[in-house]
């Protein structure tokens, strides 16, 4: 369960972090879902996501593909899926309103602050069905890196973004060899789903570097 669920960070940081998943249920309503998801990608593109990825070509928009490629390649999968993230709540609301109007019948989950997501569901007049609560990390937590690194690496829910890459990119910024934005975009590349929020990664690196100065 959960690849967009266990994102770390405080409430203020999470206010700029929403992951949207559009998922047909395999074996129930995945037949004929390609066209619907293509329309959903158009809606997402119009709003302007912070990131979006493609299972089909195993890349995201910071790794050499465009949103048009995401849409074009949906038909490569028997059960297509769309994953994206936003840093602006109003854009999320814009997407949800249009997806509700479109009545596509595709399951939609939003990962974000509970109160904010429930308020959005009220605004689009839908009745939330189920919720997955994160109860945090258990076990040998003393082996984990510091919380700033955790905030960044947990944005890739499949655990493909390494702590070493976070440290390296932050170091390149400190040395003036990269801008904070360039570093944040590099950190998004390992996450093929496209749910590393580059705007938020940029915020976290900025805060980190300011704190160390």
């Amino acid at each position: 369960m959960t690849h967009s669920l266990h994102r770390r960070g405080d409430v203020e940081s999470l206010r700029r972090d929403y992951v949207l998943l559009f998922t047909p249920a395999a074996g129930i309503n995945h037949e004929g879902s390609h066209e619907k998801l293509e329309k959903i990608v158009d809606i997402v593109a119009e709003a302007g996501p912070t990131n979006i990825g493609s299972y089909d070509v195993k890349k995201n928009i910071y790794d050499g593909i465009t949103i048009e490629d995401v849409k074009k390649n949906l038909r490569m999968s028997k059960v297509p899926r769309v994953r994206c993230c936003f840093s602006d709540k109003n854009k999320v609301l814009q997407v949800l309103k249009k997806v509700k109007e479109g009545d596509f019948g595709i399951s939609v989950t939003v990962s974000g602050l509970i109160d904010e997501v429930l308020n959005m569901s009220k605004e689009i007049n839908c009745k939330p069905h189920s919720i997955n609560l994160s109860l945090g990390v258990w076990g040998r937590t003393e082996k984990l890196p510091d919380e700033t690194i955790m905030e960044i690496v947990t944005m890739c829910g499949h655990g493909l973004l390494s702590k070493a890459l976070v440290k390296k990119e932050a170091e390149l910024v400190r040395k003036g060899k990269k801008s904070i934005r360039q570093a944040a975009e590099e950190l998004a590349r390992p996450c093929t789903c496209g749910i590393v929020n580059v705007d938020r990664a940029q915020d976290i690196i900025s805060r980190w570097i300011a704190r160390d100065m």
């Binding site: 369960m1 395999a26 309503n29 399951s107 839908c126 499949h158 655990g159």
Partner: protein
């Protein structure tokens, strides 16, 4: 993954991309520690090896190495479940599948996440304890296919030494078992040599409340302010 020593120019570009620190810069050159490598393929996809020295051997799709591949690389799709990666559709499509119903709770114990990864022997500690409690694993999760004895919760012998980025132990229980199961999970947290991320899935009740919260509060278990919410827009809608 392997590095072709003939082709590698020791540029070290690939080193920081490995999420499990399996790429080693040793005195004999750069190599991949086969015990640590989880076969997630991140280095191959992302590091941009300039000489093609990073290579994926065919045996990663054969047992036992395939365990690493299918659990760690979300770009692979399990043939049994048609679902990419190590999990299931869980709450993502619960409005259509009706998998977790009112009066039930879905639980996910994501072993190895974040950062540390896990050996499958650590996963077995969890599955054995759950089996003792009479809990059956979710059959759409690929872990289900690696169980040797469902009564004991033991894994197939060829699986045990494998290492993965993460593995989700996923199951549903009646709501009235939630307290007992969470207490058992608390104890298990002290017995494992890695970490896990824990989550609970439930339906909202008729009034829009989250039924798991009072139980969590009673047990002193904190939940994060961010969650994953299924908006109920899927069709056909499974109310129960």
């Amino acid at each position: 993954m392997r590095i072709d020593q003939e082709l590698c120019i020791c540029c070290l570009k690939c080193l920081p991309y490995c999420p499990v620190d399996a790429i080693i810069n040793g005195p004999e050159g750069v190599y991949i520690d086969q015990e640590l490598c989880a076969e997630c393929g991140t280095c191959l996809r992302t590091a941009g090896c300039p000489t093609g020295a990073l290579q994926e051997p065919e045996d990663v799709y054969k047992e036992p190495r395939s365990v690493r591949k299918f659990f760690s690389d979300p770009t692979t799709t399990h043939k049994e479940t048609m679902i990419p990666g190590r999990g299931t559709e869980e709450v993502k499509t619960n409005d259509v599948t009706g998998r977790v119903k009112r009066g039930q709770v879905g639980i996910g114990i994501e072993m190895g996440r974040p950062v540390l990864g896990t050996k499958m022997t650590e996963v077995e500690k969890i599955t054995m304890r759950l089996a003792q409690m009479g809990i059956q694993l979710e059959h759409n999760n690929p872990l289900f296919y690696l169980i040797d004895d469902p009564q004991k919760g033991t894994l197939k012998s060829w699986v045990k030494n494998e290492r993965v980025v993460s593995c989700i132990v996923e199951f549903e229980i009646p709501f009235d078992m939630l307290k007992e199961v969470l207490q058992a999970i608390k104890e298990l947290a002290n017995e494992i040599d890695t970490v896990f991320s824990l989550d609970v899935v439930s339906r909202f009740d008729e009034n829009g409340n989250i039924p798991t919260i009072p139980v969590l509060e009673e047990l002193g278990i904190c939940y994060r302010p961010n969650a994953k919410i299924n908006l109920g827009l899927g069709r056909p809608l499974r109310e129960e």
